[in-house]
Amino acid sequence: MLSNELKQQVQYVDVLVIGAGPAGMAAAIAAREAGVENLLVLEREEHMGGILRQCIHNGFGLHRFKEELTGPEYAQRDIDKVQELGIEVRCGTTVLSVDEHRFVTAISKEKGVQLFEAGAVVLAMGCRERPRGALGTPGSRCAGVYSAGTAQKFVNLEGYMPGKRVVILGSGDIGLIMARRMTLQGAKVLACVEIMPYSGGLNRNIVQCLEDYDIPLLLSHTVVDIEGKDRLSGITIAEVDEKRNPIPGTEQHFDCDTLLLSVGLIPENELTQQAGVELSPATQGAVVDDNLQTSKEGIFACGNVLHVHDLVDFVSAESFRAGKAAAAYVQGKKRQGRFVEMKDGNGVRGVVPQRLMIPEGETEPVQVMFRPAAVYENATVVLTAGGKEIMRQRKRIFTPGEMAELTLKPEAIRQIESDTVTVDILA
């Protein structure tokens, strides 16, 4: 319970957005454009832009702006828009708690503890990298082992080199980008080691970041030992079998002073959990409906905190929808209809949204995203509702490294009579 003194400090905000990365900025822009005046964005870093600030390579914006931008350039377009619209953004402000009634506490150096009651909350906290500990890789706990994003921050934002002879474990996009980046800064990247039989990153990054620099990609391999007393001195890798267990006798040693880990991203859902929002084990993000609303009314989620995207363009697109929906919610525009569950079927992991509303009135198209569970060539994705096929789409390749996306058209949605829709990949 709050003391009377603290109660008086509670500020009411119509839409409160947590995070001013690409997701938070897009949600805020959409909410303002939908007419929300009382709008506030809280950002824990000193600047807007989120992780894009350190992604100084290009390749951003091809879908949204039809041109190739660097991360900071992409972010700047949204920053400009946020400023143009006069949206209040408090940087250096960390949200400490969110509850299911949308009571939010935050803290900053300038303003101290801040208390908010929000009509709607948009969760846009992004994701974090899986650390070494989560892999349980044995060996020394010496210096020289970094997650790829941490190394990227040191190099691109702080201007320091974390090492000279580098091995990369995992073929996530940040690891691939850092292979090229470290090479361009004079380091020797010896190999990129991936435990799965396929890459976890985008194909274009494999080509542009590894192949162009003759960096070998060793699939079905992993690090089995990390050596070094104070600083990393070497690592041992080995081939793995189908169960991902190292095969004795296949060990190879590398002398290196740096091991970068790019072994997966995890939506950062501590606040989401505090708010009592239901999470999906498949995406590790919130369970949402096609309006990006979570299991708690008035709490929305978008971007990498919802599910880890490959392309920021899709983060922005999703977040515009979340911001618009949050605005509609506080403006009292309630939708009427019935919900159906969207289920992962064969070869499909983490369908978003997990719930779909069949509205009573006008039906709008719905973006459906998921990750293929394995590599499928010339396969078809099929959506089935109560034994009835409502949509199918053929694709040359499905791979876990690239999020699959499809648009469920109104005429397909109106065909749904059952309580569930299953998404399958048929080889």
């Binding site: 709050l2 003391s3 603290l6 824990r44 250096g92 960390t94 400490l96 506490t105 803290i107 900053s108 150096k109 300038e110 303003k111 101290g112 503890v113 974090r128 990298e129 650390p131 070494r132 500990g133 989560a134 349980g136 044995p138 060996g139 020394s140 706990r141 010496c142 210096a143 020289g144 970094y146 997650s147 994003g149 941490t150 921050k153 040191f154 190099v155 934002l157 702080e158 201007g159 320091y160 080199m161 974390p162 090492g163 000279k164 800064q185 004079g186 380091a187 089995v224 030992d225 990390i226 050596e227 007393k229 104070d230 600083r231 190292p246 002073d257 950062e268 501590e270």
Partner: protein
């Protein structure tokens, strides 16, 4: 009188604090970059009740005495302590006899409130326990601490009472010359009238340089898994299995910060500095932990680590004056339950030192520095006040554990302050959470460089050559000064 304490583990720091009550010129030499760098930072964090040690041994007496001193000591110095209790589980019919032996042993050692309980009660108290459990020894007085936080607090208290701490001063040789001790260290030669050898795994070697009665210490490695904190706790008590001759067996225990710890393994190793984890030992810990906790899911692991126990061949602590070498005192072979025994070891040995050398007590012995409540444990009202008083509380540096810039700066400015990323981590928990420093380490590094007045490329993870950054970008491109 010039006194040198060799070794800044929990025992050395407890002795330093206890000795600082007396008029003397006291220096503590630590071979590592910080105190609590050896076994004191890598153990199970249990304050053992004392049922495990053989009656009549030093281990038994000092364990039980030490455990009883813990609540007050931790309150005095500002270290965490809790008493959640423990169980020793028996899964096989023949293990019931072991439980009964432990019960008898505990009674003999003076452990209070012990009780043997049966399956239903076990499962009622700890529902995640393997339902195949037969019976257990319930140990309500079993406690928990944070061994490194305790060591830091003891060191701070000693420092405010005049003890000088010198880090990176590894003692390789000690000899007696003209009635004084001469120590060869990595920081040069040093002399003392009286020495206290608390060098952990290195204490055997120093003992042998001073005494004809040789001892042999065996480095015994223990490896652990640490799981992320979750609410509610998976186990509220420390869950032991029946002990073997290699130690107390694998335990599953909560920590005071709500994490779950699994381990340790027990393997004798050649190299006492080898704290690398191994696939085999971790697999064993995983497998044995499942016996206690079939629902174990390694998905929640945030790190693995290993520590080295200083196992003495004959299995007991060697505490007291070094035979045939007046002025030399020692604590040798302090393995488990050494953490539990540390306060009692300090009281016993310092009592002996004071009386044998007629040390006089100081008129004034300052209390330990007041430790601020960590931000993560503050109420909303306390946070409001804290940030009003010091704006640095408003900057959350470690998002996983909610550690603020104010606390990181304070940790560096403590009497025995942090000088490394790991030192900050253990003093504040910054970097101890699920992202393991991924987000906060660049900022912690920056604050360390600023507070210590050094270049960012000089900041180390844990001392020695463990720098995090090798050069600036300009230097790497051959454009800057090397």
């Amino acid at each position: 009188m010039k006194i040198i304490i060799i070794g800044g583990g929990v025992v050395g720091c407890a002795i330093a604090r206890q000795l600082s009550r007396y008029e003397a010129d006291i220096t503590l030499l630590e071979g590592g970059v910080d105190v609590a760098e050896g076994a004191s930072k890598a153990n199970s964090a249990i304050v053992h009740a004392g049922f495990d040690a053989k009656p009549g041994t030093m281990k038994a007496k000092l364990n039980v005495d030490g455990a009883k001193m813990y609540p007050r000591l931790c309150q005095e110095v500002g270290a965490p302590y809790g008493q959640p209790g423990a169980m020793v589980l028996a899964f096989l019919p023949e293990e019931r006899a072991t439980i009964e032996t432990l019960y008898q042993q505990g009674i003999e050692n003076g452990v209070e409130e012990l009780r043997i309980i049966e399956r239903d009660e076990i499962l009622q108290l700890e529902p995640n326990t393997n339902p195949n459990v037969q019976c257990a020894l319930l140990v309500p007085t079993s406690g928990l601490t944070s061994p490194y936080e305790l060591t830091y607090a003891l060191a701070d208290h000693a420092a405010v009472n005049g003890v000088t701490f010198i880090m990176n001063a590894f003692v390789s040789q000690v000899r007696k010359e003209d009635g004084r001790f001469v120590l060869e260290t990595t920081k040069g030669e040093m002399q003392a009238d009286l020495i206290v050898n608390c060098a952990g795994i290195g204490s055997g070697e120093l003992h042998n340089q001073l005494s004809d009665r040789k001892v042999k210490l065996i480095p015994r490695k223990g490896e652990y898994y640490l799981l992320d904190h979750v609410q509610p706790l998976l186990f509220t008590r420390t869950m032991f299995q029946c002990p073997s001759k290699m130690g107390k067996g694998v335990l599953v225990s909560p920590t005071l910060h709500g994490n779950t710890i699994l381990g340790p393994s027990a393997e004798d190793v050649e190299d006492a500095s080898d704290v690398a984890t191994t696939a085999q030992a971790l697999a064993m810990v995983n497998e044995r932990s499942r016996m206690t906790w079939p629902g174990l899911n390694l998905r929640n692991v945030i790190t693995t680590f290993a520590g080295i126990r200083a196992h003495e061949e004959n299995g007991d602590f060697i505490i007291g004056a070094v035979e045939g070498c007046p002025g030399a005192y020692e604590t040798v072979g302090v393995e488990s339950p050494g953490l539990s025994a540390a306060p009692a070891i300090a009281e016993l040995l310092v009592g002996q030192i004071a009386s044998e050398n007629q040390l006089s007590e100081k008129m004034e012995w300052k209390p330990a520095p007041v430790r601020n409540k960590p931000f993560y444990a503050m109420t909303l009202e306390e946070r409001v006040e804290a940030v009003k008083e010091n704006a640095d509380y408003g900057a959350i540096v470690c998002r996983c554990e909610q550690v603020t810039e104010a606390e990181i700066r304070a940790a560096i400015r403590r009497p025995v302050g942090a000088t490394t990323i790991d030192g900050v981590k253990r003093r504040t928990r910054a970097g101890m959470g699920r992202c393991q420093g991924g987000f906060c380490s660049p900022r912690v590094l920056e604050i360390l460089a600023e507070e210590l007045g050094i270049d960012p490329t000089q900041v180390t993870k844990g001392g020695g050559n463990s720098q995090l950054l090798v050069s600036t970008i300009a230097q790497a491109m051959g454009k800057g000064d090397a």
